[in-house]
């Protein structure tokens, strides 16, 4: 029996949504498993790190790794899977651009630990116990992973061949990527495996987008019931579609919710958040600083809005005062 190409899946700092998108292949998952051997998938199958370590280098055709890199364990697994894989694919927003976990770069690790284990309203911890990386009980001793001060996208830790964007990536993109991989028809290294177009280009409401948008007020999704046929930006919702890569078929907008930017930037954009800021700020009406400031106050959290999925890849990488 000829051996099938080996594929691995791994997760780091992520929510599990990317694994869900693999499952969402539905019956297509049979096509995938017929064509490849899944040799590593901790979320669904029982293979151990030692099994991977025992494999020859480059013996895995491709590993799809989701999740940002936050702990020393994740860093170690990223290095290990890089060594064992011919192709390493950053799968999903977190591995691609840092994702939601990347927002932790606005705080130091110390601040986060203090909040979670001491100050959080639901925390009862009179002794102020914090997690330790070293534990000793009699003659048993163990080392636990270290949490890093900075959250990183996968390519800030190891060399990455391709990126599949999305929070989570759509099953369609995953299927296309696997087919491209099996047929050997892959684009140049470093490519994002999604079309290089803005979300608007795939959005059914694009025709209703006015040539010039001039807003006196930004609204938040819970404040209005949006007309399902008209461009959300024209209705005052800060939809990030114009500055975000498409390939998602504008699913969120089909669900009457504005784009939040999970596919990251298109090619040649170096800083997604700055690009979003650029277009969104220019939609604010008024010529007086006072009026402009008032309109833009409708975006209460610029960093959280513009870098929701990409703070790790922001040119500044996070809050500067953190050391």
């Amino acid at each position: 029996m000829p051996t099938k190409p080996k594929i691995g899946f791994y997760w780091c700092a992520s929510c599990g949504g990317c694994e869900e998108s693999v499952v969402d292949l539905a019956e297509d998952v049979l096509m995938v498993t017929a064509a490849v051997d899944i040799i590593f998938w901790p979320c669904a199958m029982d293979f151990k790190k030692a099994d991977i370590e025992a494999m020859p280098d480059k013996s895995i055709v491709a590993t799809l790794l989701n999740g940002a890199i936050r702990s020393s364990e994740q860093e170690e697994m990223a290095h290990l899977l890089r060594r064992k894989s011919q192709v390493l694919i950053a799968f999903g927003s977190c591995a691609h651009t840092g994702g939601i976990p990347g927002l932790a770069n606005q705080f130091t690790c110390e601040q986060i630990m203090k909040y979670v284990y001491e100050e959080c309203p639901t925390m009862v911890n009179d002794q102020k116990t914090h997690p330790q990386t070293h534990f000793k009980d009699g003659n048993r001793e163990t080392e636990l992973p270290v949490i890093r001060n900075v959250v990183r996208a996968l390519d800030q830790v190891v060399d990455v061949d391709y990126y599949i964007p999305g929070c989570p990536p759509t099953p369609k993109l995953l299927k296309e990527a696997v087919l491209a991989l099996l047929s050997g028809k892959l684009p140049p290294k470093g490519s994002v495996l999604a079309p290089n177009i803005a979300v608007c280009q795939q959005c059914k409401r694009n025709d209703s987008k006015p040539q010039d948008i001039s807003l006196t007020e930004f609204k938040r999704p819970h404040q209005i019931i949006a007309d399902p046929d008209i461009c959300l930006l024209a209705q005052g919702l800060p939809c990030l579609g114009p500055a975000t890569r498409g390939g998602c078929d504008a699913v969120c907008i089909q669900g009457n919710m504005p784009c939040t930017g999970c596919f990251g930037p298109v090619d040649n954009v170096h800083d997604h958040g700055a690009k979003i800021l650029s277009y969104l700020a220019s939609t604010a009406a008024g010529k007086e600083e006072k009026d402009i400031t008032k309109t833009l106050a409708g975006i209460p959290d610029p960093v959280g809005t513009f870098y929701r999925y990409g703070l790790a890849k922001c040119l500044l990488r996070g809050k500067v005062s953190q050391s």
Partner: protein, 168 residues
Amino acid sequence: MSEPTNTFEPRIVAFFCNWCTYTAADLAGVSRMKYAPNIRVVRLMCSGRLDPQFVMAAFAKGADGVLIGGCHPGDCHYVEGNYKALRRVTLLKRMLADLGIEEDRFRLEWISASEGDKVKHVVNEMVEKIRALGPLDMPGKHTHWDKEMEELEAHVNHSQKEIPAHAH
């Protein structure tokens, strides 16, 4: 990381529009006005051309401050460009503050072609404020942030050496 103040010379990247502020800087030169030599001027056709990415890149690559100069409201050569700059800068100021960049490091000024003395005044003032703040040194900070990964590499190499011993 911070150098002694007396040796620290702020590096300021200035984006000046071709029609007003750049011409004003030229005028300052022709008029032999002296101002701090700490700015590196990038000439844009219009302050509205300023992509916020330029500002992010300048800070990320080691600028201690970024100065934007454009035509006074109503005077834009392209009619509306400076209003676009104002909108972007207004939001960018808030975002940079959230990212921990001090307010005095980022400044927008309307300077007309005849205001050579304003170039001198604004640049000198900004240099002094940034001198007081000290270096931003993003490249140094990023290198420092990534030091924690070097520790890991040592740790990984160490644990990998241990594997054969466990396997037996």
